[in-house]
Symmetry: C2
Subunit: 356 residues, 2 copies
DNA sequence: CCGACTTTGTCAAGTCTCTTGCCTAAGCCG
DNA sequence: CGGCTTAGGCAAGAGACTTGACAAAGTCGG
């Protein structure tokens, strides 16, 4: 209820993170650069850096050019000082990767789900992590997991995940127990938003919405530089909003949800109804690009509905950066343009938007 | 760009605020209670409390019952240790009040705007503050101002306010200069949300949306315990969202905005069209309560549109508490019920909602 | 009623971490 | 080569929390 008290160790940890973040964003830097950037004294920075070097988190990489005085010793984040494991528990397969501190993917493994769910799916997670850990020397910092569904990030519990048939599953604690490292479990859209924030966007935006469209539709919302999860960890369950009052019934129980209009699953089904040759996502994309009129119509309708919803979101939250990620990106620029157009028409202000 | 460094003074300030907050929320408490609540040691709490008493912010209020040991010395926030001035720059009048630290209103003054705008309106603000300060002894902690329009809270600048004809007005700095105390300027809906968070809701929620419906429609969004302002300080400009594609033109340039459907101004105008005796807000409320069919129809349609939009918001943000404030509250429970019904119909989960 | 036990509040010493002031190393420049 | 500038580090100091001990002021059982 009340936040944590402040203490000396927290101060130190905070400042260490400050140094690490500065180094992550602008490396290489000298100790003096860091002092200027963080506002700390050179002495403090030297001390903090000493600790971080002892921990193997940063390293010296030779000397830089002098600007009229002693040449600085340049520092950077030690790429392989720690490794992380990231898992994406998709609907058809579980993907996992070993990543270093710069975000480079060192090893990547996909395991097909093949219809497994419940406890068998949990076993598959263990299998995946075991495979990733084999042959990796660097100390493991932690494991991050993105899964579809409603997830209690604080406790690492999967509240509810349809496809995997998981409910109230304490996935985080179980993995933590087995491997002895911190585990973060998050909704896949939320995880995508955090990843964008941490590795891709420069300068680091304060507010960012990442909309992930695959078989479902979900959004990760970054607000004031933090991930926003909502009261029930379900923020961004963007798919189950009805722009209109009618439409196809949705698996959530209501009708006309965005997910029944704009998800890849819905698009493929709608396309198949008019063009039986379209049976999967690549087929849909191909038909769209080939200009099959009925398919284009369906996809562009979806784009409009999506754009409307995005416009709504932009209008209410006044967020400048909205990213679209996921398989829909394959539909290309003109599809995105339709989304953009529709979003702009329903929002009042001038708003820069990036899409990917 | 980078956050502030952490320092000892920050630690102390943080812990003092921790003590103050605990005391604000649960007073009276003893030092030992505070130590248990905050996790600090009794010694630290004693020290922090000493400082706060010296500053006149908290005070001892006798001894409490013992529970097997020495009886505790109870503490509470000194109500009049500081006074604050709050201003609400409405569309028809400027209201101001002197408030103590418990939130009690000690003095309240209204000055009619009488069509003044631009510089004359600024003068009226000074007049109002002068009147409030006259005869108040306690030291002034600061001035808080809620104004309609888009406001840059960080710099205290009114970016744009239609009714007052203010644009890029550095209101905060000007008042700060004149009175020598910190000034916070915020969008009126944002201010209302912060006020709810600080004084009214218990336990203090993490996420809260306050929708203020008066002549316009605006929302203040509290997320992760902080006010969310959006990239351009325009978060919660809830009124200019079109639930449908058509409808009456809005002053924002588009059509069918929520403000043209659900604001008090719109309701009164729509009601007057069918029932010429309705000319103002009280008249509208009276007609509604009297059961005039056409007026009820209009108001309930508005409630449905509003509910839909709220449902949307709840669905996307997964926020549990939504409050409606402003003159619409006069329409009573059955109007609110219609909003609730409509909101529930467009949102998937079970969601507790309070309305006022 | 008295002694044992609890609880509260405080004091002194200790520890952690940042800062200040000074010093050395190392390079540029005239 | 000497003066100046920049980088990095060391020692002492200051601020704030913690630990351990203690007096004050209760309750409670015999």
């Amino acid at each position: 209820m009340l936040p944590e008290k402040a203490t000396h160790q927290q101060t130190r940890t905070f400042n260490q993170q400050l140094v690490l973040r500065a180094l992550h964003d602008h490396s290489p830097l000298s100790r003096a650069d860091l002092a200027r950037l963080t506002g700390l004294t050179r002495t403090s920075v030297g001390d903090l850096v000493g600790g971080l070097i002892d921990d193997g988190l940063i390293e010296e990489v030779g000397r830089g050019r002098s600007s009229g005085g002693k040449s600085p010793i340049l520092l950077r984040v030690a790429p392989d000082g720690r490794h992380l494991i990231g898992l994406d528990l998709g609907e058809a397969q579980f993907s996992g990767a070993v990543v270093n501190l710069r975000g480079d993917i060192l090893l990547s493994i996909d395991l097909p789900l093949e219809g497994r769910n419940g406890e068998a799916a949990v076993e598959l997670v263990f299998e995946l992590v075991d495979a990733l850990r084999a042959g990796d020397q660097s100390p493991l910092l932690g494991i991050g997991i993105g899964a579809p569904g409603v997830i209690d990030t604080d406790s690492g519990t999967v509240r509810w995940s349809v496809n995997l048939d998981w409910a109230e599953l304490a996935l985080g604690p179980r993995i933590e127990l087995r491997y002895g490292v911190p585990v973060v479990v998050a909704n896949d859209s939320h995880a995508a938003a955090l990843a964008e924030l941490t590795f891709h966007r420069r300068p680091r935006p304060n507010n960012l919405i990442v909309i992930k469209i695959g078989r479902g539709v979900g959004a990760g919302i970054i607000v004031n530089g933090q991930l926003f999860q909502g009261d029930g960890y379900g923020a961004g369950e963007f798919g189950h909003i009805s722009p209109g009052d009618d439409g196809a019934p949705c698996r959530c129980g209501r009708k006309g949800c965005l997910e029944t209009l704009a998800s890849m699953r819905a698009l493929v089904e709608a396309a198949r109804a008019v063009e039986p040759t379209v049976t999967d996502e690549p087929g849909l994309v191909a038909a769209f690009k080939a200009g099959v009129a009925a398919v284009r119509q369906i996809a562009l309708d979806a784009a409009r509905a999506l754009g409307l919803a995005i416009g709504w979101l932009i209008g209410v939250l006044n967020v400048r950066q909205v990213l679209l990620v996921g398989p829909v990106a394959a539909l290309g620029e003109d599809w995105l343009d339709e989304v953009r157009r529709s979003a702009h028409s329903s929002v009042m202000a001038l708003l820069a938007r990036d899409t990917q």
